[in-house]
């Protein structure tokens, strides 16, 4: 089996190693397409959205989508409980949800990876302190923690980012630490030590690029978890504060309408969340197989 391409070679572990590969090996076009479209909506929301997403008129409430009896082309996807245009809210919601999702994952990733590298490489008391804190954090149910944080910092879009980021960094810390523990024993790290590189240089120049793959794959998977958690926080009433349009909030707000036949209030944001999470996960699975088919920590 020595000629099998599945065998990881020395180069697959580095950033430089996979970049050209991404081009050559068949890209998952559908997930990338979805992400690009959503990003486009998020960036150009002002230009695309037909209405102000935060202001509606009570007289126009619960209008169904255009193709349903009673709907009009004025509101393509209908209106919500205070008469706001669902389409406009979805478009702006792409911005809020993606910003919340990506930023939370970014924060979790930066904090978790940093701690994971420090913990795994330095070992000793640093490892002890970081791992004990991580254990404690893990033992605290994530959403419980989120509710308390929400109560402390108060609700706002950015606070949700901070909350979700600080709930989910532990996943990174543990996985990255595990990765570093095995990297530490590899030749190139040993060589770097022998060559007299400082600890910081080794962590920055040798370990960081090598855990980047794992961190990126983890990020795509975490994005889904974070976006769904954002919705759960809204369900519990401590999510992105209304009237901001966030998909999770729309879903939680619209859940009452579901039983009342106003299906468009939850189906559209629900579909958006599903698309985003699915796309991120499919991309993540693809990347995971690309980087390391045997990677099992995720």
């Amino acid at each position: 089996m020595s000629a099998s391409p599945a065998t990881p070679t020395a180069t697959t572990g580095t950033l430089a190693g996979w970049l050209p590969k991404l081009r050559t090996e068949g890209l998952p076009l559908v997930p990338i397409g979805i992400l690009v479209v959503l990003a486009f909506l998020a960036i150009f929301a002002e230009l695309i959205a037909p209405y102000n997403p935060e202001i509606g008129s009570l007289s126009q409430r619960f209008k169904p989508p255009a193709w349903v009896a009673g709907g009009s082309t004025e509101y393509l996807l209908g209106t919500d409980h205070i008469g706001r245009d669902v389409l406009s809210r979805l478009i702006f919601g792409a911005r809020v949800s993606m910003v919340v999702g990506f930023m939370a994952v970014f924060i979790a990733g930066v904090v978790g990876s940093t701690l994971g590298i420090l913990s795994g490489y330095l070992g000793g008391w640093v490892d002890q302190v970081i791992m004990r804190v991580t254990d404690t954090w893990l033992a605290l149910p994530g959403l419980t923690f989120a509710i308390f944080l929400a109560a402390i910092v108060g609700p706002s879009e950015w606070n949700i980012v901070i909350i979700l980021g600080s709930v989910y960094w532990t996943r990174y810390a543990r996985v990255i630490r595990g990765e570093v523990l095995s990297l530490r024993e590899r030749d190139f790290v040993r060589l770097a030590i022998v060559a007299g590189c400082s600890k910081w240089t080794i962590m920055r120049r040798h370990l960081l690029p090598n855990v980047a793959n794992t961190a990126i794959v983890l990020a795509t998977l975490m994005l889904g978890v974070v976006v769904v958690s954002e919705a759960a926080l809204s369900f519990l009433g401590v999510g992105v504060p209304p009237p901001k349009p966030a998909w999770g909030l729309m879903l939680a707000d619209g859940k009452k309408g579901l039983m009342a036949g106003y299906w468009w209030l939850t189906v559209f944001p629900g579909v958006c969340i599903v698309l985003l999470v699915l796309a991120a996960n499919l991309l993540g699975d693809w990347l995971r197989v690309k980087f390391d088919p045997q990677l099992r920590q995720l």
């Binding site: 020595s2 000629a3 099998s4 050559t24 090996e25």
Partner: protein, 324 residues
């Protein structure tokens, strides 16, 4: 050569990945012949296509790989024309193989008796009981003490040497005509290695089976084999009777290999006596694939790949130096 047990005629097996953008020529135009009861050694560096060749013979290539051209005949039958079911009936029954890592070849969750008797049950419809009895006999034949009691044990309860013998027992269970052993001794220490090789030879003699011995250790080839094929970058670059190849190698690569065989008391054996790396099988250079490392490279080598030249009876070499 009607007596030939196995014939490969310009057999090529390629890995196609990345939706057809990458073609790895793992086995390229390999021609070999193996007579009944004969032992053939296949040598080469890691990645030279030895294992792929073995799997191609069994038609057990990974899904990404395919036999793209050539002919493959076993006992006069065209293996490439066989249906998957027919092929399955050949595997284990008429052609058996011992894998690179016999230690990991046993399923940890089933008893030894179960695993040894399994081929018998599948290929010969043996009853549970007779499979068990015959498995006991097989273990005895590979010199496992207290064989009958061992049948009930799990692989993890046995020593490494014992596990290897069991893998051997599985291979010969249905009395195959051909046994392919893919570096079966790589993971063993030297004494056990010798014992195991001895056992293999005994098995071969007793059952009169042909053996393909895949290794990177020319020393073993010298001891075990009747003929040898040297592979480099997916091709057989030189093949012939062992004695001839060792005494008069033609290809510079073969020569280097032979020179690197450690003589007594000359330190550890290595097979990296030649500087440089083998080429990327997905983007082979024009001309000879060994050109970059060849000490006797010529201009012509960079232009055209050498065909197989007949040097003597059964001695072939793919090298412009051998051009008559």
């Amino acid at each position: 050569m009607s007596d030939a047990l196995l014939e490969l005629d310009r057999l090529s097996a390629h890995y196609v990945t990345g939706r057809g953008t990458r073609v790895v020529r793992a086995v390229d135009e390999v021609s070999l012949t193996l007579q009944k009861g004969e032992t053939l050694g296949v040598v080469g560096e890691s990645g030279s296509g030895k294992t792929t060749l073995a799997l191609a013979i069994l038609r057990l290539l990974p899904t990404a790989a395919k036999i793209v051209s050539g002919a493959l005949r076993f006992d006069g039958e065209d293996l490439l024309a066989k249906s998957p079911t027919e092929m399955r009936k050949i595997r284990g029954k008429r052609i058996a193989m011992i894998l690179q890592d016999p230690m990991a070849s046993l399923n940890p969750l089933f008893t030894v008796g179960d695993q040894v008797g399994e081929s018998l049950r599948v290929h010969e419809n043996a009853s549970r009981r007779s499979a068990r009895e015959r498995a006991g006999a097989l273990l005895k034949s590979v010199k496992i003490p207290a064989a009958v009691q061992r049948l009930r044990e799990y692989p993890h309860q046995m020593s490494g040497g014992m596990r290897q013998r069991i893998v051997g027992a599985i291979a010969i269970a249905c009395e195959p005509r051909l046994l392919i052993a893919d570096e079966p001794t790589t993971s063993l220490d030297v004494t056990i290695q010798a014992q195991y090789l001895k056992l293999l030879r005994e098995i071969q003699r007793e059952h009169g089976l042909a053996l393909i011995f895949i290794t990177h250790n020319l020393g073993i080839v010298a001891r075990m084999c009747d003929s040898v094929a040297v592979m480099y970058a997916g091709r057989v670059i030189e093949s012939g009777p062992v004695r001839r190849i060792f005494n008069a190698p033609v290809h510079p690569y073969t020569r280097a290999l032979i020179e690197s065989i450690p003589r007594l008391g000359e330190g550890p054996e290595r097979l990296t006596a030649i500087d440089g790396q083998p080429p990327d099988l997905a983007s082979l250079p024009a001309g000879c694939s060994f050109q970059a490392r060849c000490p006797r490279v010529m201009d012509h080598c960079r232009e055209e790949a050498p065909p197989a030249f007949d040097i003597a009876t059964q001695h072939l070499a793919r090298c412009w130096l051998a051009r008559p």
